[in-house]
Amino acid sequence: MYKPIHLVPANTRIDFMRFHKPAFVLSVIMVIGSFVLLFTKGLNYGIDFAGGVAMEVQQEQPVDLAQLRGQLDALNLGEITLQTFGQPNDVLIRIPQQAGGDQATQEAVAKIKASLGDKWQYRRTETVGPKVGSELKSSAVWASILAGLGIMAYVWFRYEWQFGVNALLALFHDCVTTVGLFSLTGMEFNLTTVAAVLTIAGYSVNDTVVIYDRVRYDMRRYKTMPLAELINHALNSTLSRTTITSGLTLLSVLALAIFGGEVIRGFSVAMIWGIVIGTYSTICVATPLLLYMHIHRIRGKDEKAAEKAAAEKQGSGTVARRGT
């Protein structure tokens, strides 16, 4: 019979704790860097948030962007951005919010169509007014805040509070650096990107929770093992799962990025980053951080006394909480 391969050998003993300090430093730098970028460079908001017009147009031959720019600049519609979209004969035209409000924006679209004429195919036309733009922005912010709180509440309910705080820190780290990546690369930040960030949030906690479950399990099993060693043990025994799950999810997202086309490129790229950073943060940040959180455990030397105390208290301590 076929003997399946073991990707991570059973006796793997990687000392993850050895890297945790440089990893902390790296993470802090990435988070701070993301904030600096956000406040200095900012995000390249798509029309979902910034308002304005986005039109995807296509013609038979490759597009001469310079000539097209000249033609459209003559319409005086403000700062027009042009970029090829996927193929050289496909162009995305973006024009900013028009001063005359929603009606002026509608007129701007008509002007562009009149100027371009019939040889173009209008694959997509999107206009978003200023009011809608700011509403979409605020609902995106609310969705993110409430999702964060919801996740924190659940993790807090299922684990000791230290775990909840750490999971949230990791989630924050993953989401902030994702947004930072968008600022750094200048990729368009739109509603789909927010969906990706929230999905990353879900994935990040998912990943963290699996290892936390293991840490808690090991804490009950190896009462005398020093915490650092125990964390290493938990990380190593879940390493195979972590690699395989991350790998498979990454594979499916890569398929999306390569074959899914331009429309969801931003989403796919965000997800790729999210999966990589989410896995990293779980292993190198969220779990090692437990070391500093003063988790209440019953230590080996006190074991007997503790057992006695626990028996008296009828197991109301913080240890045997699994399955609550």
């Binding site: 019979m1 399946p4 919801g150 993790v155 509603l191 929770v209 799950t245 699994r322």
Partner: protein, 522 residues
């Protein structure tokens, strides 16, 4: 591990069967499915506008100018009521300020005479008359809300009539929030014509031209100067007309595009009985004068009255094409909008981009599935195959659930599906990794399997619940395609939990019972 109660077995198989049955209609052409007997499930996953092409328009009802118009008409009403009675009632400072109509009666002795007149003019408003003669009337928040609601509902009705008249298939017209209307037009390539038709308020009035004022060039206080829509029709750029209309568009019962002199497109209209009588009176009294046909504040034509028109029907000629005359007739039949509508968001996707997206989504989906399926077999052998069967069933269940709910599949939704497939095998990975550990700890095949499922379950639940929470907020706050993404993820989380825990367990237990292995091929 080996034992499955009959009930559990029935439920598991039942859910799988339902999933297959409900996803079935998606595999057949739509026309065939519609011929199926009614007891069979016939709902299919509907494709979002981003996939099938079409137009999504978000309109906002201009409630600000609506209220302003209402207040202005109250002011006019008060003016005519106070000055046209048997005893004239003197007032000063009549006007609108801060959303309220205010005036001051000159003679406080006339307050009681004025009260019933003012009450009549301000029906539905809060009226306050102070003892010094100061009068204010304003709408309460409640009344304003009700007014807006009514107007939005009327507007939806009118929009529906107009869109139906254009022959657009399966439009969706729904209210959103307090003062918004969502219009979705699947399959519409260029929504410009429909936007033009919806965007016109189509307030039509018939107003007499003040010929005396036209001669002197100075409008009387009861006149208003209006632009001529197409100056070529009448030669003049502007005409002076009487402020108070003779008749309104509401008096029309029918309007059709037809031809005058066999060639020129015109609109033939017909008044109701009240309109016909008024029109007959006015035309018989004003032979030789012009009357202006005004649409949304612009004069379309101003023909000279040659004879009294008693039949209640007439013709609007302007510089029409067949299409523009047809559109005007359509607008007149559907009636005027109670307030202006503005497009505040538009998303139009061409059918070929939609088709490209579907193709790209399919390709990504298939490739992701192939990669995962191969990887699972390589990594876990026989149990990888079990997991793969569960994975495919999962895809079927997602499709079935989406069909059952009549949910809309969007492009981000496809992305959600691909992502779900990647994450769905996580549960199996967790279980099987755990089983391997238990085997290393020296447990026998069956007990290791049992321990694997037992120990991994809590973790799987924790992981799924947190993911579920994040996705629910996404659903709640997301719009359009993002909602589609969230729905697919939510369904995917639920179905993948079912397939990767229960279905694989069922398969594994059957296998274990059949072969009774000492060692697991893992």
């Amino acid at each position: 591990m080996l034992h499955f109660s009959k009930l559990k077995l029935t439920v598991i198989l039942g859910i799988i069967l339902l999933g297959i049955v409900f996803s079935l209609p998606n595999l057949f052409p739509r026309d065939d499915v519609e011929k199926w007997p009614s007891w069979m499930p016939r709902t299919v996953v509907s494709l979002g506008l981003d996939l099938q092409g079409g137009s999504h328009l978000l309109y906002e009802v201009d409630t600000v100018s609506l209220v302003k118009d209402r207040l202005d008409s109250v002011v006019n009403d008060i003016r005519s009521k106070l000055t046209s009675g048997a005893t004239r009632i003197g007032y000063v400072n009549l006007g609108v300020s801060n959303g309220a109509v205010s005036l001051k009666l000159r003679d406080t002795g006339q307050i009681e005479t004025a009260r019933p007149l003012l009450q009549e003019a301000t029906t539905g408003m809060d009226l306050a008359i102070a003892s010094d003669g100061q009068v204010t009337a304003s709408y309460s928040d409640q009344a304003l809300k009700q007014m807006k609601q009514q107007v939005v509902e009327q507007a939806i009705e009118v929009v529906r009539k107009r869109i139906d008249a254009t022959g657009t298939k399966e439009p969706t017209i729904i209210r959103e929030g307090d003062d918004r209307i969502v219009v979705q037009l699947p399959g519409v390539k260029d929504p410009q014509r429909i936007k033009d038709i919806i965007g016109k308020t189509a307030k039509m009035t018939f107003q007499m031209v003040d010929e005396n004022a036209m001669l002197t060039g100075t409008p009387a206080p009861t006149d208003v100067v209006l632009d001529v829509a197409d100056p070529r029709t009448d030669g003049a750029q502007k005409l002076i007309v009487e402020k108070v209309p003779l008749l309104y568009g509401q008096n029309l019962v029918d309007a059709q595009q037809t031809f005058e002199n066999g060639a020129q497109p015109v609109v033939a209209f017909k008044f109701d009985s009240v309109g016909a009588r008024k029109f007959g009176d006015a035309t018989s009294k004003n032979v030789g004068r012009r009357f202006a046909i005004v649409l949304d504040g612009k004069i379309i034509s101003a023909p000279v009255i040659k004879d009294a028109i008693l039949g209640g029907s007439g013709i609007i000629s302007g510089n029409f094409t067949v299409q523009s005359a047809g559109d005007l007739a359509l607008l007149l039949r559907a009636g005027a909008l109670p307030a202006d509508l503005h497009v505040i968001e538009e998303r139009t996707v061409g059918a070929d981009l939609g088709a490209d997206s579907i193709a790209a989504g399919k390709k990504a989906c298939v490739i992701a599935i192939v990669l995962i399926v191969v990887a699972m077999v390589v990594l876990y052998g026989l149990f990888g195959i079990f997991a793969n069967v569960a994975l495919l069933l999962n895809a079927v269940l997602i499709l079935g659930a989406l069909s059952l709910l009549g949910a809309t599949l969007t492009f981000p939704g496809i992305a959600g599906m691909v992502l779900t497939l990647g994450m769905a095998v996580d549960a199996n990975v967790l279980i099987l990794e755990r089983v391997r550990e238990e085997m290393r700890n020296g447990r026998s095949a069956i007990t290791a399997m049992e321990a694997g499922y037992r120990e991994a379950q809590a973790t799987i639940i924790d992981a799924n619940v947190t993911h579920f929470i994040a996705t629910c907020f996404l659903f709640y706050f997301g719009s359009g395609p993002i909602k589609g993404f969230a729905i697919t993820l939510i369904i995917g989380i639920a179905t993948s939990f079912f397939t990767s825990v229960y279905v694989t367990r069922l398969m594994t237990s059957v296998w274990l019972r059949r072969t009774r292995p000492k060692l697991l091929p893992l």
